[in-house]
């Protein structure tokens, strides 16, 4: 009887942590963030798509830490046999290598499989700012230097670089105030008017924009964001060079055979055409992709890598170590 109660106590304390570990599966997708991030959610969708396509078992393994670098550590030492993949934001390979000096991975360590989905960068102002267009906002900032401040979810990320570039193109010295990976404080600080403007991914701001508590002035794609048909792009407003997007890339270790990569890409990209999945992801603010072949994605990423490299050199931007 004694031991029965002891074991009850033990089972209760441990059950919730122990169960997920028991389900050992063959195939893994690494993600460099904690469970529950939008990247993690997207990776889980991809795992479902892969599993549904041929009945194989896929799990998402979170390796958070060091700004996503631990995910790359994991994929670098993983077998290049198509059983282990990594999903990461494009900026981790195209922008971060230019800004962080001590990075232990590069674009050459991975072979892209698919550009799964992404979203544009949005320039957002608080509803307390009188300007309703980008031009009016720029003029309003020029009147008072104290207004030339914009928030970003993360220091040194694509939205940050984009804001710097906007400041240069528009001729206003915009100062950055970075947050810790976005989240609710950045949004409420802009809604409350404590920060008057932000450069950030579109997805997080759709609800506030529709509620009228913030205004998205422009988005960074070559086309308007599907969720925001009335918001112009920077290109439409005359800023020809202001194009960028944040996309989530599925990739394999660099040595993975090409045929294997093409096979996985075909399964994932076919799964992404499912209307129900597309609707669900669009509602979350994503623009679903999955259209380009692996070789095309690789070429695009090399071009983006050069684009951000030139921009970083051009602006003299430097991470402090």
């Amino acid at each position: 009887m004694k031991n029965f109660f002891a074991s009850m106590a033990i089972v209760l304390t441990g059950a919730m942590t122990a169960i997920p570990n028991m389900a050992l599966a063959q195939n893994r997708i690494f993600v460099g963030t904690v469970a529950g991030s939008d990247l993690d959610g997207l990776a889980r969708r991809v795992a479902e798509v892969l599993a549904a396509s041929d009945g194989s078992r896929w799990i998402v393994e979170n390796r958070p830490g060091s700004g996503g670098a631990l995910g790359f550590d994991a994929i670098k030492s993983a077998p290049a046999d198509g059983t282990t993949l990594l999903m990461a934001p494009s900026g981790a390979m195209t922008l971060t290598p230019h800004t962080r000096g001590n990075l232990k991975y590069s674009l050459a360590d991975v072979a892209p499989v698919s550009r799964v989905a992404g979203f544009d960068v949005a320039y957002i102002v608080s509803a307390k700012v009188p300007a309703t267009t980008l031009k009016a906002y720029i003029d309003w900032v020029k009147q008072d230097n104290a207004r030339a401040v914009f928030a970003t979810p993360q220091f040194g990320g694509i939205p940050h670089m984009f804001g710097i570039k906007l400041g240069r193109a528009a001729g206003v010295p915009l100062d950055n105030v970075a947050y810790r990976g976005g989240g609710s404080q950045l949004i409420t600080d802009v809604v409350g008017g404590h920060l008057l403007a932000a450069s950030s991914g579109v997805a997080e701001w759709l609800r506030e924009h529709q509620a009228g508590t913030v205004r998205i002035l422009a988005t960074s794609g070559t086309k308007r964001a599907p969720q925001l048909p009335n918001v112009p792009t920077f290109q439409e407003l005359g800023y020809k060079d202001l194009v960028a997007s944040i996309s989530y890339i599925l990739m394999a270790p660099a040595q993975t055979p090409k045929a294997m990569i093409d096979g996985i890409a075909a399964r994932v990209n076919k799964g992404l055409t499912d209307a129900k999945l597309r609707d669900a992801l669009t509602a979350q603010g994503f623009v679903v992709d999955g259209t380009a072949a692996p070789a095309t994605v690789a070429a695009e990423l090399r071009a983006e890598h050069k684009y951000w490299g030139d921009l970083v050199k051009d602006t003299g931007f430097k991470m402090p170590n």
Partner: protein
């Protein structure tokens, strides 16, 4: 009325099958660790943190809250039956409760404690529901300056209201602030004190540190004490229902205890523990027969038990509405919220109304579950007191380590917890409270970030911190608290209050 529609929302959330299950799980674990002497709600919540990562935040907080107030019930069982308070807020319950048990009236004592706690828990929850929204109106007025001031207030509060020596508390907060500096500065991207270890660039893991300090440290500390001889009054727990005379004596004590607890719980600092002490003193003072106290007076059980439970509920007010933790349990809850991406503060009520009201409604349900768990099933808990530690502790440690690994699928968190287990044990030996350290570690980086955002927006003008009404008021309160703590007369009284 708003209150009712809010509570309706809350019950809608709390009554889903998932949340009911987590409330039950929480109060069950709470009762369990309350019953086990030596394990309190702080180590228990610290140990549960890894498993809540992937949960829905509402369910997770419902469970953690259940552990906290469940421990208040469970603690009294041990106090009454074996004179070992299972939890610090039931220390006074042991005085008269154990005497009642020795006189063969264990059943009546348990019932008085249980029913008193239930009544107080319900009233405390109502107080929480009624008064919390008054503070919600200022939600969007909170920007970086206000957060910076709030964090400053929280840090100073942690020093002023920690029990024990002020200098030790100051030292612990400072140590926590220093540990909080290990990270990548979010505003400039500088890696600080990471020594090339990638895991350190995201800062020390709150969960690993908390589990090391509180969970493992407490276990080592417990094993360091000589085993107590245990006299368990198992056979005597038969006639649970108190007599009419018992009711007549206990009722006013329950009412007074509830009122006291509801008030004291809101204050930062002692909360539940303080409330139970004050209630016992009050009952003894108003009694016509004070000589019965210490020899099995039912008021001495009913009053403090009601007080500690009411305080346990109302201590959620500062935590949920301002993000200021009034005690270490609430500090852990705040840590858990941060981990799940919720910024503690007045905005929680606005942004996560489901979480806020669901949590409050779940407390009623949890209290009801507890009275059922604790009175009819009392025999089960009594049996548990006979499980030897040599089986219990190794199993707990084993599952904690599994939990730590699952945090980020990395051995680093386990090593980190191991290091902090040794540090935690050293703190117990040195009689240093680890709570202020943890607060410093959590609040420090938030204070720094928000202060620097304030200064960036104000273009380096420090005066905004004082001229903005909310941040100015918060800083004024912090200064008053600090001065009060340093004045010798008040300090003496404070030391006496904690000496009892």
């Amino acid at each position: 009325m708003d209150l009712f529609s809010n509570l309706a929302t809350g019950f809608g959330v709390a009554l889903t099958l998932q949340n009911l299950a987590f409330a039950l799980g929480g109060v069950f674990i709470g009762t369990l660790i309350g019953v086990l002497p030596g394990l309190g709600p702080v180590p228990a919540i610290a140990m549960l943190l890894p498993s809540i990562y992937t949960l829905d935040p509402t369910a997770a907080l419902i469970m953690l809250a259940g552990v906290y107030y469940g421990a208040q019930y469970g603690g009294s069982t041990t106090a009454i039956l074996i004179n070992l308070p299972g939890e610090s807020s039931s220390i006074v319950t042991a005085i008269d409760g154990y005497q009642m048990a020795r006189k063969g009236r264990a059943g009546a004592a348990l019932a008085a404690a249980g029913l008193g706690s239930f009544f107080a828990g319900c009233v405390g929850t109502l107080v929480l529901a009624a008064f919390a929204p008054a503070l919600a109106g200022i939600a969007f007025a909170f920007g970086p300056a206000e957060y910076a001031a709030l964090m400053l207030l929280g840090l100073i509060g942690a020093v002023v209201l920690a029990s024990g020596a002020v200098m030790k508390a100051v030292g612990m907060v400072l140590l926590g602030l220093l540990l909080g500096q290990i990270n990548t500065d979010p505003l400039s991207g500088v890696e600080r004190f990471s020594f090339g270890i990638p895991e350190l660039t995201d800062g020390l893991g709150f969960v690993a540190v908390a589990m090391g300090l509180f969970g493992f440290g407490e276990i080592i500390g417990n094993l360091n004490r000589p085993p107590e001889s245990r006299e368990v009054f198992t056979r005597d727990v038969k006639n649970l229902w108190p007599t009419r005379e018992d009711f007549r004596q206990a009722m006013p004590a329950v009412l007074r205890g509830t009122a006291l607890g509801s008030l004291l719980g809101v204050l930062p600092g002692g909360g539940a523990i303080l409330a139970s002490f004050v209630s016992y003193t009050l009952e003894k003072r108003v009694s016509k027969t004070p000589e019965r106290f210490g020899h099995g007076a039912i008021e001495g059980v009913a009053g403090p038990e009601s007080a500690n439970n009411a305080a346990a509920q109302t201590s959620f007010i500062p935590m949920l509405t301002l993000g200021i933790p009034p005690n270490p349990v609430m500090a852990l809850m705040i840590g858990a919220m941060v981990v799940m991406g919720i910024t503690p503060g007045p905005k929680v009520m606005v942004e996560n109304p489901d979480l806020f009201w669901g949590l409050i409604a779940s407390m009623w349900i949890g209290n009801l579950m507890l009275i059922i768990l604790n009175l009819p099933f009392i025999g089960i808990w009594v049996k548990l007191l006979t499980v030897p530690y040599r089986f219990l502790f190794p199993s707990i440690v084993c599952f904690c380590v599994i939990g730590l690994y699952t945090l980020s699928n990395n051995n680093f968190d386990i090593y980190l917890a191991g290091v902090f287990a040794v540090i935690g044990f050293a703190f117990i030996k040195l009689r240093c409270e680890a709570g202020p350290l943890l607060l410093g570690m959590v609040l420090g980086p938030m204070l720094e970030e928000n202060l620097r955002r304030t200064l960036l927006v104000s273009r380096g003008d420090w005066s905004v911190l004082l001229t903005r009404p909310i941040s100015g008021t918060l800083i004024a309160i912090a200064v008053v608290m600090l001065v009060a703590a340093l004045l010798p007369a008040i300090r003496k009284r404070r030391d006496n209050a904690f000496r009892d």
